[in-house]
Amino acid sequence: MTPIMALARFRLAGYVASHRALQPLIALLALLAVLYAGSIPAGQEIGATADSAAMLVPVLAWAARGLLDTEPDEQRSVALSALGPKELVSALLAAFASLLVLASLAEAVLLLRLDASPTLTVLLTGVWLHLLSATAGLALGALTSRPILPSPAVSTIALILGYLSMLVLSMAGARWLTVPVMAWMRDAHHGVLLSGLPLITVQSLLWPAIGLAAYTWLRRTRP
């Protein structure tokens, strides 16, 4: 096992053993209970998938922030002394892995609530959109984590405002200015998501990529 993977495993183990992992899990279960109170009728599968992916972003961001902040600051220094700047890669990998677990759980519940058997297209679209959601959550969680925003209050407000800005900007049609979460839902419900998937993928990955690059740059002076 490489040092990066070993450190990611250590962080995941610490996160799971602490109470922090439960908070976003409970929020996710509550969200799933609301979303899937009724079953999903045939023909609405992709729309429901897009709704799930869009609404998961803040929960996933919270989970990512929770994982990154579980470790005491001095322990992060110890990790930094062992791995150097690769410590950051390990942190992001561990956070992304935890988001994949939550996103898989959401996807599994969605599939269980479908009236019709899911086609391969529905399955792959669901996986793809939830990966985009996890990437957006990872970037937002990382940018609001303790090394970047030390105050818990400021960090929580920034996380909420970050998600709200995604909603507002994408609702206004500014697809290139944010992660277009509203466009995922709108296109899915209008049956045009699949034909425009490559473009919407690029639009959805652009800001998380910029966000993660900013996080990496800021962490140079914020160990």
Partner: protein, 252 residues
């Protein structure tokens, strides 16, 4: 390893902690960093270890394997000592045999099954030292390593430092209490007023320049005064108690 023209402050509006500091560290060097509280000893150590980036200047040729033991080990983690050290050994890519070796040497065999949050300060400090030593570091940075240690480990730590130095490792230690003063070949640096200044070795300063001062003080203030004098670079031994009457007679 060379520290050249190093300046550091935590933020643009913050005061400079270090300014134009320079230091050359050769293989096998053991350096004691001293100075009053809050002058930047820990900051210097973190810069040496690569945990902070210099705002100006550079740290060049840092050894590849760095061991760092913080002043306060972060014990608030949901692991037992053993599982924590096993994770750290995996991160360092060293065999878990090293855990047994270091736990025995640091006198912490009996702690392996305990949870980190349950440890006393001194025991947690040993875990911090163990993780720093696991990978045979080429640069070992210890922030106040003697604080809270029991007598046996206090006596063992200089021997451990000597071993690291003997195989070519650089050891940088901040030490308020002067436990390393008798270490042969010890280099001493003082951080004061944003400057890192190399002091004369203790052995050379010793026989000719030292004065022994007897101070009588209320027992409740003894420890505090001793710490303050140590911070000033004095060697302090608290020898025992005398009565106030004797003190007055001595004064008269």
């Amino acid at each position: 390893m060379r520290i050249a023209s190093l300046s550091f402050r935590y933020g643009r509006r913050d005061p400079w902690i270090l300014s134009d500091a320079g230091l050359v560290l050769d293989a096998g060097d053991v350096v004691e960093v001293t100075g009053p509280n809050g002058t930047g000893k820990s900051t210097l150590l973190r810069l040496v270890a690569g945990l902070l980036r210099p705002v100006r200047g550079s740290v060049e040729d840092r050894p590849r394997v760095v061991g760092y033991a913080p002043e306060r080990f972060p014990a608030d983690q949901p692991f037992t000592v053993s599982s924590y050290l096993r994770h750290m050994a995996a991160v360092r890519r060293v065999s878990t045999d090293a855990i047994g070796r270091w736990s025995e040497r640091l006198g912490m065999d009996h702690l392996l099954g305990q949870r980190l949050p349950d440890l006393s300060k001194g025991s947690a400090h040993k875990v911090g030292l163990a993780q720093a030593l696991l990978a045979e570091p080429g640069l070992l940075v210890l922030d106040e390593p003697f604080a809270g240690l029991d007598a046996a480990t206090r006596a063992e730590l200089p021997r451990i430092i000597e071993d690291v130095s003997a195989r070519g490792g650089i050891v940088v230690v901040s030490d308020h209490q002067g436990d390393l003063r008798a270490f042969p070949g010890l280099r001493r640096c003082e951080v004061r007023d944003r400057v890192v200044r190399e002091l004369e070795p203790v052995a050379e300063a010793g026989e000719t320049a030292l004065t022994v001062l007897e101070v009588a003080v209320d027992p409740s203030r003894a420890s505090d005064l001793a710490d303050r004098l140590r911070a000033e670079g004095c060697t302090v031994h608290i020898t025992g108690r005398i009565t106030a009457r004797v003190t007055r007679e001595a004064a008269g």
